[in-house]
């Protein structure tokens, strides 16, 4: 009798355990699309229909995690007569997106970033070609007509547009050279115009501050910026003069740029720990007068100043007008293409509402909503211009509290809103830096076969270059071996890769 009871209790416990564990593990994928009544009567105004529910998945940035109740979702929803049900991708978005697609349970709208991922999944059939539905998106069509290059850069090899184009959210350029204005002023140093002058200035700085490494170059990635100022690039690029695709790291001007770094390392003008530096080390060096010139982002002017002024009230980080090399103009970087946006799932049951929503983002009203928010709550009009109310202290609160400038709702953004949040110092640097931006580069879009044919070679070339350029800089390999290095790159199939670039580019020009 006792054995029977203990058997029964064991079985009950086991069943309870299995039930509990299985229900816990079953995280329902993002709320399945609600199929509301399809818009049966096309003649009715959208605003007379009840709002359609649209599911949307966007990147949940760790600094401003997705909040379903954000003001920006409500307001945009009102404009397009939809009700947005927003959730964030679980984990890293580049890993999560393929998983969501593979699960077969895609939300109506999916945020994505970068042409590669949209071409990949668009090509698989997961995403709708927006160009097939321009009749339902008149505002977007008008916007595209005004911003043709931005849109063209997003087209697939067969001319399809899988993601809405965007502009303005992060300004027109990405990073800039910064320097310690106070140190230069204190020691009467002139801002160099060429890389020869820069070298002399660095030598002088080293004499004045013997323990410093005046130019902060953490790894070979800095060649991205330096090569640009020498009229070349650190990768494949389209040369507007020769009208050909070229590979920077084999060119003569690149060799000169590299020679600058080689000499700088030998003279201890750039950190001797080249290759092993991280952000913490960089911040440490900058704030303790061990490094004076660095490449960074506009927001870092403020962060560096705030970090250092506690101990050193004269510390001033400002825009460093980029010197030019080998007779070329100096640049901070290339014009920045903001390539993030929304895609529509091909098996969505609410495509009309999705198109309506995307279209609505390209109206002036929506531009104001996503950039400034709601008048009276987040901004006010002063002398005809918009101005944030004190509740919006900085970019962080703007995003965290209201969802302004977050993923998926920043298609057409008013960059003035960003500038208005800068303090005077940053604003001055921002405006000055904008004068030294190179035009955006040309883009070559590959078919799947083309991409596969060059992918391995590109990888091998990239690895070879990063390894050898680094070795040149720290002196492990002498620059006299430059020709052997160029031959090494050619032997890895460089001309084949360039041919494919030309082929793909020619196709896109038709």
């Amino acid at each position: 009798m006792r054995r029977k009871w203990s058997m029964a209790i064991t079985l009950i416990l086991l069943t309870a355990m299995i039930a509990a564990c299985s229900s816990g593990n079953n995280n329902p994928p993002a709320a399945s699309p609600n199929s509301s009544e399809p818009v049966a009567d096309a003649t009715k105004e959208p605003s007379e229909q009840p709002p359609t529910k649209l599911t949307m998945m966007v990147q949940s940035h760790p600094s401003w995690p997705v909040n379903k109740d954000w003001l920006v979702y409500r307001e945009l929803g009102k404009l397009a007569n939809v009700q947005l049900d927003v959730s964030g991708y679980q984990g890293d978005w580049w890993e999560a997106i393929p998983l969501v697609i593979a699960s077969g349970d895609m939300p109506d709208l999916m945020w994505m970033s970068g042409p590669d991922i949209i071409h990949k999944h668009g090509g698989e059939g997961a995403l709708v070609n927006l160009l097939d539905h321009m009749d339902q998106m008149p505002n977007l069509q008008a916007w595209i007509a005004e911003h043709q290059e931005i849109t063209d850069a997003l087209l697939s090899t067969d001319g399809k547009l899988y993601m809405n184009p965007a502009q303005g959210a992060y300004g027109d350029w990405d990073g800039l050279w910064l320097y310690r204005e106070d140190i230069f002023l204190k020691n009467n140093l002139a801002v160099p115009k060429t890389y020869e002058e820069l070298f002399d200035v660095l030598v002088k700085l080293k004499e004045l501050y013997p323990d410093s490494y005046p130019l902060f170059v953490p790894n070979w990635g800095t060649m991205n910026q330096i090569a640009l100022s020498f009229g070349t690039a650190n990768t494949f690029y389209y040369n507007e003069q020769s009208k050909k695709w070229q590979y920077g790291p084999t060119e003569e001007s690149y060799k000169q740029a590299l020679q600058f770094l080689v000499d700088a390392y030998a003279a201890k003008l750039i950190p001797v720990e080249f290759g092993s530096l991280d952000e913490n080390k960089r911040n440490e060096m900058i704030t303790t007068n061990q490094s004076f010139i660095v490449y960074g982002y506009i927001g870092q002017i403020d962060s560096f100043n705030n970090l250092a002024r506690g101990e050193n009230p004269e510390f001033k980080m400002a825009q460093f007008t980029p010197p030019g090399g080998a007779g070329n103009p100096g640049y901070h970087g290339k014009e920045f293409r903001f390539q993030e946006g929304l895609t529509v799932a091909s098996n969505s049951k609410n495509k009309e509402a999705a198109f309506r929503f995307i279209d609505s983002m390209f109206t002036e009203k929506a531009k104001e909503v996503v950039s400034w928010g709601v008048e009276g709550i987040t901004f006010e009009k002063v002398d005809g211009k918009n101005k944030y109310l004190p509740i919006v202290k900085d970019t962080a609160t703007r995003a965290v509290s209201f969802g302004l400038r977050t993923a998926g709702v920043n298609a057409w953004f008013d960059n003035e809103a960003n500038i208005s949040l800068f303090n005077e110092e940053t604003k001055a640097s921002y405006i000055e830096a904008g004068k030294h931006i190179a035009p955006a580069g040309q883009v070559a879009t590959f078919t799947k076969e083309e991409r596969e044919s060059i992918s391995l070679k590109q990888q091998a070339i990239s690895k070879f270059v990063s390894e050898n350029v680094s070795k040149f800089i720290i002196g492990q390999r002498p620059m006299s071996e430059w020709d052997a290095y160029v031959k090494g790159i050619n032997d890895l199939g460089l001309s084949d890769v360039l041919n494919v670039f030309e082929q793909a580019y020619a196709r896109s020009q038709q």
């Binding site: 698989e124 997961a126 001797v272 290759g275 092993s276 992918s455 720290i474």
Partner: protein, 305 residues
């Protein structure tokens, strides 16, 4: 023995044991065996939208790309293999030796202190360890270079030289793992019959001879089992520590399969390619483990199965 009892009767006799085993069996079936179907992705051109079954079959295409068309394959193989082998050769005996030494200690307080201190590094994350290594080896004021400076030599930028990478990786690995590894061996040593020690002492064996002829033979089965397991994991050299520690200047010795896959497979989202590399790793590990097991069975009569 009479003929074996009929199958059903034997099943009935052990029904409670089977019931106990059931959850574990289900776990392995669902989480370890069922996902093996995913290996088919390596042979297909995986289209995430169309799904696994609808994707095109490409056979050995990605294996061919990885093994034969990849100019770096031999380099990656050599690096992964050598890092694993060196870790094994130097890192495997270290806990054994430490355990044998600890076993000889008389003061139990000292013994316990040493044990605790030695297995603390195991719990420190790789990120912290690599930061420490970078600091100690820094050419600009790092501890090691300061010591070198005392002897009058120039500072050496260790982390930029490929010839030092394996040494740095293996020795820091030993420091991380030696204390933790001694736990199993110490447990095995306590199981050695104390009468054997007494008998050996009576026969005139000193400390050293006792260790050689009683302690070591006593833990040989444990050593063999752990050796087999470690060899099976040879090609799976950890991604995290290598990735944090390496830089482009040491690719020649530091680039291994997992870091290569990360740069190529992950960043391009090519599931099929990454799966093919994973299958390759798995097949090689399987061959190694079966071969080692067979070798162990023939020479030592101890083996995993």
């Amino acid at each position: 023995m009479n003929g074996r009892r009929p199958f059903l009767k034997r099943l009935d006799d052990s029904k409670y044991l089977l019931l106990l085993f059931l959850p574990a069996a289900l776990f392995y079936l669902i989480f370890e065996y069922a996902p093996m179907f995913g290996i088919v992705v390596a042979f297909k051109d995986y289209n995430t939208f169309a799904g696994v079954w609808a994707s095109d079959w490409v056979g050995l295409k990605y294996f061919r790309i990885f093994l034969f068309e990849n100019p770096d394959f031999l380099l990656l193989l050599r690096n992964t293999f050598l890092l694993g082998v060196y870790s094994l050769i130097w890192g495997f005996p270290a806990p054994i030796i430490l355990a044998l030494l600890l076993n000889e200690l008389r003061s139990s307080i000292f013994k316990r202190t040493v044990q605790t201190v030695s297995y603390l590094p195991h719990f420190v994350s790789n990120v912290v360890i690599v930061s420490m290594i970078t600091m100690f080896l820094s050419p600009d004021g790092g501890l090691v270079n300061k010591i070198i400076g005392i002897f009058g030599a120039d500072p050496v930028y260790f982390l930029s030289k490929s010839e030092f990478f394996r040494t740095i990786y293996v020795s820091s690995g030993i420091w991380q793992g030696v204390g933790w590894g001694t736990i199993i061996y110490l447990a095995a040593l306590t199981a050695v019959d104390p009468h054997l020690y007494e008998a050996a002492e009576l026969d005139g064996a000193g400390r050293w001879k006792r260790m050689l002829h009683v302690s070591i033979p006593g833990i040989v089965p444990v050593i063999i089992i752990l050796l087999i397991l470690n060899i099976g994991g040879l090609l799976g050299t950890g991604f995290e520590k290598v990735f944090l520690l390496y830089n482009p200047m040491v690719y020649a010795t530091a680039d291994i399969f997992s870091t290569y896959t990360y740069r190529v497979g992950l960043l391009q989202g090519n599931f099929s390619y990454a799966t093919a590399i994973g299958v390759f790793n798995g097949v090689v590990g399987f061959i190694l483990i079966v071969a080692t097991n067979r070798l162990a069975k023939r020479t030592q009569e101890t083996s995993l199965w």
